[in-house]
Symmetry: C2
């Protein structure tokens, strides 16, 4: 097992394909002998961030805590795949500023909102449109796409397996060229 | 590298020897091919828990967040050594309740308060006695020793190297007997 850590943040709308790509990349990384882990936004909200809601402040704190936990894991030698919307540029930039150089990769899972809403895998867009969910990203809360992501993955052009492969290749290339 | 995780919590007074034992055990675990990591209470207070103070509520939240981060790391396959006072039994029992069976070890670094105060490696007891630090465990805030710790380490009887060895042997024994 190679113990070389990095925090890879997959950002994008709900339903963009973040978790699917992360889980597929996880298997590929493990097959290559990497210790890897998916930090899933939904799961973390039941544990580390169980006291937080979806207000602007709480979203910032949610991203901050996931980043701090993820950076500890990366420091321990884990390739961390955080699949978390993190809609605000400021919050993501703060993560980048906290990470040691080269230990944070911002990956934009660039799926247009209308495609995400048409997929609606958890039925959340339908609920948000009915007003049953507040502050839902893309509906009544903004999403600020990355300006300088290390990688952009377009799920409308390539399938999850191909995108995960591209992500893993990118991670491996960066890890092998850093100390 | 063997990726089998567990959250080992070293509890005890400030100056009891928690960090020293944890750092020594870390080296021994790494020499055995384990992926291990020290979650240091002081360091975490500058990151994951930077917004928290030392009130009863904040101490509980501090322990809760460290536990959640530590359990994520353990789930990823890391042997996590949390060197954190965690003075209240209730808070530690909550960590145990959150952990999968056999994935939490409570280790009591049992150094008497007068010995810790005589050592005073960071000069904190002196400051607390002068009233310059509030809610300092052992001075004006209680410490509730574990009733059922998996392991008790007495620094007045054995040196840090010997205690770390005992800790590592115990961790290895438990990991090898669990799936």
């Amino acid at each position: 097992m190679k113990a070389q850590g990095v925090l890879v943040w997959l950002t994008g709308f709900s339903g963009a394909g973040k978790s699917t790509i992360a889980e597929t990349a996880l298997q590929q990384l493990q097959a290559r002998g990497r210790l890897a882990y998916v930090l899933d936004g939904d799961r973390v909200r039941k544990g580390l961030c169980s006291d937080l809601g979806f207000s602007r402040d709480d979203r910032a704190e949610n991203v901050r805590r996931i980043a701090e936990a993820g950076l500890l894991m990366a420091d321990a030698g884990v390739v961390v795949l955080a699949a978390v919307i993190a809609p605000f540029r400021l919050d993501r930039d703060r993560v980048r500023a906290r990470a040691p150089r080269g230990r944070f990769l911002e990956v934009f899972v660039d799926t247009p909102l209308d495609v995400c809403e048409a997929r609606d895998p958890k039925g959340l867009y339908k609920m948000a449109r009915k007003g049953l969910l507040q502050d839902f990203t893309g509906i009544d809360s903004p999403y600020e796409p990355p300006l300088h992501a290390e990688l952009v993955l377009r799920t409308t052009e390539t399938d999850a397996l191909g995108l995960a492969q591209r992500l893993v290749d990118d991670i491996e290339r960066r890890l092998s060229s850093s100390p």
